[in-house]
């Protein structure tokens, strides 16, 4: 066997290298040298991000087991940038006395899940896809349980692993049915063989559960609020952005690459799930008092909006999806960044605790407001553009009713985003959160997110770049 072709998998190999270096450093580094652990990790990871941000030509490895198209570089770069921002936000959290000795694990586990997502994105075969999915899920559980003295964290981890395993099992069952009806697991061969027979439809439905679970779409979303609430905030933001972002991209590519002949079967499924996700999540979000749970429901509804891009199945939809994930990443990480700073310093996550925040912490409130406006789709912030493009991609295919329902939901979502803005800017409080100092890494991360939210929309270069490599049915 020719192993040299493995060297083409640049992204995976360099990420693996970063992981191994960090692991060795963490195990063998002296007490004194470990002071530099976090800066080294950040530098290595930034180098990895920069090295792999230039698209190459498409290729396949191992007979189509692994395949690469230029678009994947963009997606992986978005994931890298998101992970980098999460690392910056977690910097202070990992310097706590309780977490200091475990920070090597934090980086190693996070990067393992990232590696899993890489393989999931680049897989050309259901086997590799499944390995990727599992590599992304299992270390995630340990991360959710990272706060080991906190009962909620442990409970969240238990919930996560049980639901994740269950979803994977159903998904695996779907794959076995696919193999049973076609005799192959390679994506390239499946496109022709999957014609939408009843058994294959069933296979699709079972298979897609695994991804729907990862994207946390209704009705596979029940784990989301509890896990988001229990996990350490930085893990929550990782879960809500990176894990979700990779899964939606994979869902889109699978639908257009593997199931192109089953459009009539998967479109109604997505149609229903999109409406259910957006509506249910919005209705539940209104009642939330805990900001982490609130953002959990908000992220479920955001995932529903992404489905509008997927359902179009066009190149336009592809571009809009990747763009949406990018904008969503900046907006959500900014919101979670503020929540994590405040939670880490004061332990407060209730919406009422945020009353009068603008009086004491104007900068944090403004960042939070920009993030929420972007999530709500208010111009001139990038969220407006990403929402518009997603709607336009769906309208392009004639889904006007779906667009209309989604738009009505944006009004509900605007209501609950405004509730947080109202708490920070309008409500008065007897004892507001005191003036906080934000550590430099977190500050950098918030500035990055804010710049992203402001510039990605107004400057069209990024969207046009993504559009160059989009493909459709």
């Amino acid at each position: 066997m020719d192993y040299s072709s493995f060297l083409q998998m640049n992204e995976e190999l360099s990420l693996l290298a970063v992981m191994v270096i960090l692991l060795v450093y963490d195990i063998f580094g002296s007490e004194k040298s470990l002071r530099y652990f976090q800066p080294v990790a950040l530098v290595l990871f930034t180098a990895h991000t920069l090295l792999n941000c230039i698209p190459r030509d498409a290729f396949e490895v191992a007979g189509g087991m692994y395949h690469y198209v230029p678009m994947m570089t963009y997606v992986k770069t978005i994931l890298n940038v998101g992970t980098l921002i999460v690392f910056l936000q977690a910097h202070k959290f990992l310097n706590d006395d309780a977490n200091r000795i475990r920070r090597g694990e934090f980086y190693f586990l996070t990067l393992s899940t990232l590696l899993g997502m890489y393989f999931m994105i680049s897989s050309g075969n259901f086997l590799l896809f499944f390995i990727g999915l599992e590599t992304a899920s299992i270390p995630m559980t340990t991360l959710v349980a990272f706060d080991k003295h906190n009962r909620k964290s442990a409970e969240a981890a238990a919930k996560y692993i049980l639901s994740a395993v269950f979803a994977s099992a159903i998904s695996l069952f779907g794959m076995s049915l696919i193999y049973g009806t076609t005799g192959t697991l390679y994506f390239n061969d499946l496109a022709v063989l999957l014609t939408g027979s009843p058994l294959q439809t069933m296979a699709f439905v079972f298979f897609s559960v695994g991804l729907f679970f990862k994207i946390s779409l209704v009705p596979f979303h029940l784990w989301t609020p509890d896990v988001y609430e229990g996990a350490p905030t930085n893990i929550t933001s990782y879960l809500s952005v990176i894990s979700k972002g990779s899964a939606v991209f994979v869902l889109f590519t699978l639908l257009v690459k593997v199931f192109p002949n089953m459009v009539a079967q998967w479109q109604p499924v997505l149609y229903g799930i999109a409406i259910a996700s957006i509506t249910v999540a919005n209705v539940f979000a209104i009642r939330q008092k805990n900001l982490k749970r609130f953002l959990a429901f908000s992220s479920i509804s955001q995932a529903g909006y992404i489905l509008l891009a997927i359902i179009s199945g066009t190149a336009l939809g592809m571009t809009s999806l990747v763009y949406y994930v990018l904008v969503y990443m900046f907006s959500n990480l900014a919101a979670f960044g503020v929540v994590s700073v405040i939670e880490h310093r004061t332990g407060k996550v209730g919406m009422d605790d945020y009353n009068g925040l603008y009086q004491t912490n104007p900068r944090l409130s403004v960042v939070m407001m920009i993030a929420l406006f972007s999530l709500a789709g208010i111009p001139p912030f990038a969220g407006f553009f990403s929402k518009f493009f997603v709607f336009a991609a769906a309208a392009d295919q004639g889904f006007y009713v779906l667009v209309f329902i989604a738009l009505l939901n944006t009004i509900i979502s605007l209501y609950y985003y405004l509730l947080v803005v109202k708490a920070m800017f309008i409500n008065k409080s007897e004892n507001p959160i005191e003036k906080l100092t934000t550590d430099t890494p977190a500050k950098i991360s918030l500035v990055l997110c804010t710049l992203g939210i402001l510039l990605v929309g107004l400057i069209s270069t990024i969207y046009n770049q993504i559009a160059v490599f989009s493909f459709g049915i």
Binding site: P379, P380, F389, V403, L407, T410, L414, L418, V421, N464
Partner: protein, 493 residues
Amino acid sequence: MNILSLFVLIPVLMMIGLYFSNTRKQIQTVTASGSTLLLILSGVITFMYLTQRAAGDLSEMLLVADTVWYAPFNIHYSVGVDGISIAMLLLSSVIVFTGVFASWKIDPLPKEYFLWYCMLSIGVYGFFISTDLFTMFMFYEIALIPMYLLIGVWGTGKKEYAAMKLTLMLMGGSALLLVGILGIYYTSGATSMNVLEISKMSIPLSAQYFFFPLTFMGFGVLGALFPFHTWSPDGHASAPTAVSMLHAGVLMKLGGYGCFRVAIYLMPEAAHDLSWIFLILTSCSVVYGAFSAVVQTDLKYINAYSSVSHCGLVLFAILMLNETAMTGAVLQMLSHGLMTALFFALIGMIYGRTHTRLITEMGGLMKVLPFLGVSYVIAGLASLGLPSLSGFVAEMTIFIGAFQHTDLFHRILTITATTSIVITAVYILRMIGKIFYGKVLNSEHLKLTDATWYERVSVVTLIVVIFAIGSAPFWISSMIHESVIPVISQLPK
């Protein structure tokens, strides 16, 4: 760079300037100079427009510029003006200018207040200069969201409720609008979202029947179309003075302008066939708004309901679909914008002194506040349509245009709408009589002082413009008239 883009750029620069200013003095300098610049700029633009027209340039839009923005969606940043947008830009500049002086001593957080105020004006100006559907929609939404915080933080009364209601209802309108815009673009088969280009395409009739009501209602919500007007009284009553001015004076015109420019211009057949539904609704606005104003006792509520009535008249006139009435509609937008801004400015000044807005608690103020009193009377007379003031010109043109329809349906609605003139006289005269004449009800009121210099700047500017339009309306109405013709020529005979 195109000169029209300055309308967006100057407020952006003002925002940057505000970010770095710390004292009230600096804030006032930045906002006053910025808004004066905008006023001068709109004068220059008007002059450029008129000279180009006089030189024989007959193209629909002048001073056009076009840059590709998002190529995959054919979204362009394209700007251009015709007579109607010129009128609207003049109106916006006057009101932004006077609004700055009306909120000269705003408290608390003057810096944040003006930051939002500038953002609001970016939206307003951007909307009027855009000729691309996407850019138009974007500026429309930019203009909406600052309202929430402006009312929520600096408002009075049940401000949180009013702010939320206003924002959600207007955003609801924009949701309808977005479906309409996407539908127009994709069914027309045009290769760009430019209004001028889409107007040359023909949208299939079945699609028009679906998207015209969505678009018209979407803009109609902002134009206080009955029954979607309920945000307006609460919103205007709770908003701080300058925000009420800008909102009633300019923002509500976005609705009328959008109905005209997007809904009717791009979907003329549907407009012709479906106008009757909306005509009924708008005549409801006209009469219902006027009657509601009669029973209110809060000055701001009176003026807010009066705005519903007057803005209803704008939409009513647009739906008459003939040259005279449409010209009248634009004149009415101008006239109503100016006089309602004057009203809100004066109400704000009176409230700042008496700390009440209830007409039952005031009386005889003319003796104490002669300047404010006389100005208030002038505003009132403009509102009820006294000749030589702007209101007369506008309403006259509208009703002459409306009477050109000879069928029974239009006649009945026209006569119904005309009654609003009488009802307007009732509530205006009642209000003026109660608060300015008769005995002083509260001895505290005898100690009040009349307008300060910055208040006078704002009031005098508005009065001068109202007089100017009222006594010399022809240059402006002919400018509007020639820009109405392209829209009329699209309509089926």
